[in-house]
């Protein structure tokens, strides 16, 4: 081989920040090829994907609307990933949060109390956390792999939503459409800026970013998460309970994903529908990694991934590109990021350089 991969004595700090940028550059490069194959002018396509969605203030605010659920889910997931707890069921926890949270409105639609929305948000968090508690229980009690159990529960949650919305939750005045009645004003997320769809959920997401930042940097539980993730044995000697961290990271992620689900149904969607999220819970996995599992990084990564959703829609309308391009694009970002991560811990050396010179 021409190159030799050599372990760095210490992980490279600069590469930690550089690799997301390299990965994005490679993704753009690859998507140029992809657009050529699809028969679209790549410059035009990239413009429609990344610039056109930000042309107006309204569109700019949409970026935050889309980034809100991503941010909430990814912040939760990142804590687990730090601790080597692989919860990949955020999509299901999001769905359960939406179901449990909105149940309050569905069963008491006449309520106009100011406490309705706060109660719904809390119930949303409880619903998501309860759904995440199932893999946590099975993992800590029976050693069952949380990757598989949390993912299976995504399908169960989606089917449960379908069951409710095709049955008891269907709006009686809704011409038999599988939709609930639209939420009343007191069940709606307040709009932050008039004329946009930016809602209170965005503030919750920003609060989660700040809260997670403080938690990971300044609190004992944040420290325990990091130690258990990087050196489980050392954590054990320090008396940190692995089970406690598993419970904590799953409940934390579930609660945030639940809030994300509730803020979708009582925010931009405004009713319960069969499909609440276009895969935010899965894209959040990419967001978490792209943001280097750090709250501030996640903030920016979620805006970027939100942009790919908007760009996908713009490109579909203006260029007739299939929506699936967004998914390919998101997958590529994560792929390249993981590939570039080798640069953080290893460096490449020319294998034959010296011999060739002498």
């Amino acid at each position: 081989m021409l190159f030799k991969i050599e372990k760095r004595p210490e992980p490279s700090k600069s590469m930690v920040y550089l690799t997301p940028i390299i990965a994005l550059a490679l993704t753009v490069l690859c998507s140029i090829i992809l657009f050529e194959v699809l028969g679209v002018n790549p410059i035009e396509a990239l413009y429609q994907f990344f610039i056109a969605p930000l042309n107006t203030t309204y569109e700019f605010s949409e970026l935050f609307v889309k980034a809100t659920p991503l941010m909430l889910c990814a912040i939760g997931l990142s804590v687990g990933f730090r601790a080597n707890v692989w919860n990949i069921g955020a999509e299901g926890q999001l769905t359960m949060g939406a179901i449990v949270g909105s149940s309050l409105f569905i069963y008491f639609p006449e309520t106009d109390s100011v406490f309705l929305l706060p109660a719904m948000i809390i119930l949303g968090a409880v619903g998501g956390a309860a759904w995440a508690a199932i893999p946590a229980f099975f993992k800590t009690r029976f050693n069952a792999n949380e990757i598989l159990t949390s993912l299976m529960l995504v399908y169960v949650a989606l089917l449960l939503l379908s069951l409710l919305i095709h049955g008891p939750w269907r709006d009686p005045a809704g011409f038999n459409f599988p939709e609930s009645q639209t939420f009343s004003e007191s069940a709606d997320m307040p709009i932050l800026i008039a004329g946009t769809r930016m809602h209170f959920g965005t503030l919750l997401a920003l609060f989660a970013v700040l809260g997670a930042w403080v938690m990971m940097a300044r609190t004992l539980i944040g420290f325990q998460v990091k130690v258990i993730g990087e050196a489980p044995r050392a954590g054990g000697y320090a008396g940190f309970s692995q089970k406690k961290i598993i419970w904590f990271s799953l409940l934390f992620a579930g609660a945030l994903a639940g809030v994300a689900g509730l803020s979708e149904v009582s925010g931009p969607i405004d009713q319960v529908v069969p499909s609440i999220s276009p895969g935010y819970g899965f894209t959040a996995i990419i967001v978490a990694f792209l943001g280097r599992l750090h709250p501030v990084g996640i903030f920016f990564a979620s805006l970027l991934m939100a942009l790919t959703y908007l760009g996908g829609e713009t490109a579909q309308i203006n260029l007739g590109l299939p929506v699936a391009v967004t998914g390919v694009f998101q997958g590529m970002v994560l792929f390249f990021l993981l590939a570039c991560d080798v640069l953080v811990h290893y460096r490449f050396r020319l294998n034959i350089a010296r011999k060739a010179i002498s």
Binding site: N143, N145, M152, L153, L163, V328, L334, L338
Partner: protein, 309 residues
């Protein structure tokens, strides 16, 4: 005899539901035996499904289609190999990335073909034998891939436990450092195991789009790749038990169809939850015995190999 005739279609549908799981789980089993955990089964199955489907639409040749599906799956697995084996990326994260990428890529590849029907894979029909009541259609009335899946179970068991190459593969999975110091090419062996897994997942996916429901729909695997991963744990990494598990899950999947046909008054969504719930229950029951898992699981699974020399 006629009293049991209703069982024949039940058995036939169980077989078609189980076959994709047999392929995917068997391939991933070999991958895992070499010490690599590839969580991208779902993505590889989807890309295999759409590649096979497009090939049949274009050529009408099912043999080519299955080959294309296997190739597509192997290429996806090769990408996974580059990342995890050569660039030493985290296997869990890379597997997730492969699935997310596969979902998007297959949707993009198949967008023009959604809903287009193709003829289902033809079933064997041996005059005389296939007409025997009851056992005829079940034993002698399947499509070629069903027989192939059984052959592959035998081949994989034989390879893993009766050949030197299989022994080396298991050694690499149990202790890559020891295998490396004896002089076995750990990375090359893992590449082959990973790509075999990808090819098998691709065929499993193609079975869905060519035989189970002969059409293409986005995300048509509906979590079967993940169920295949769970099956391996259930089977404690034994090929024969993978077969048993796959047929058990095939049975649960089919239960919903027949329960509805029988007029059982249960919402369809509840019945559709069954395979997923069953997966969770089975995982819990099997994983409970930690020592048993540890005894059978390849010791190096998921660990990164970097030759110090």
């Amino acid at each position: 005899m006629s009293g049991f005739d209703w069982l024949v279609p039940v058995f036939l549908t169980v077989i078609t539901a189980a076959t994709p799981l047999v392929f995917a789980a068997l391939g991933e089993l070999v991958t895992e035996k070499s010490g690599v955990l590839n969580l991208g089964v779902e993505g590889m199955m989807l890309v295999g499904a759409v590649s096979g489907f497009i090939t049949v639409l274009a050529t009408g040749n099912y043999f080519l289609a299955v080959g294309a599906a296997a190739l597509a799956g192997a290429i996806m697995a090769f990408l996974f190999g580059i990342l995890t084996l050569s660039l030493m990326a985290n296997q869990v994260a890379t597997g997730l990335a492969l699935t997310l990428f596969g979902v998007g890529l297959s949707a993009l590849m198949g967008q023009d073909f959604v809903g287009e029907p193709v003829a289902a894979l033809t079933k064997l029909n041996i005059a005389g034998l296939s007409d025997i009541p009851f056992i005829g259609p079940i034993l002698f009335g399947q499509d070629a891939l069903v027989y192939f899946s059984f052959i592959m179970v035998a081949v994989v068991s034989w390879f893993l436990y009766k050949t030197k190459a299989g022994l080396v593969l298991r050694a690499v999975g149990d202790s890559h450092n020891a295998a490396h110091s004896i002089g076995y090419p750990v990375i090359a062996i893992r590449y082959m195991a990973v790509m075999f897994g990808g090819a098998m997942s691709g065929i499993g996916g193609a079975y869905l789009s060519l035989a189970y429901t002969p059409m293409w729909a986005e995300n048509m695997t509906a979590g079967r790749g993940w169920i295949a991963l769970a099956l391996i744990v259930f089977a404690t990494w034994k090929p024969g038990l993978v077969l048993v598990g796959a047929y058990m899950f095939g049975g649960i999947t089919i239960l919903q169809l027949h329960a509805q046909a029988a007029g059982l008054n249960v919402p369809s969504q509840v019945l559709s939850m069954l395979p997923y719930l069953a997966t969770i229950i089975v995982l819990v029951l099997i994983s409970k015995d930690e020592s048993r898992i540890r005894k059978h699981a390849p010791a190096c699974i998921g660990k990164i190999f970097h030759p110090a020399a």
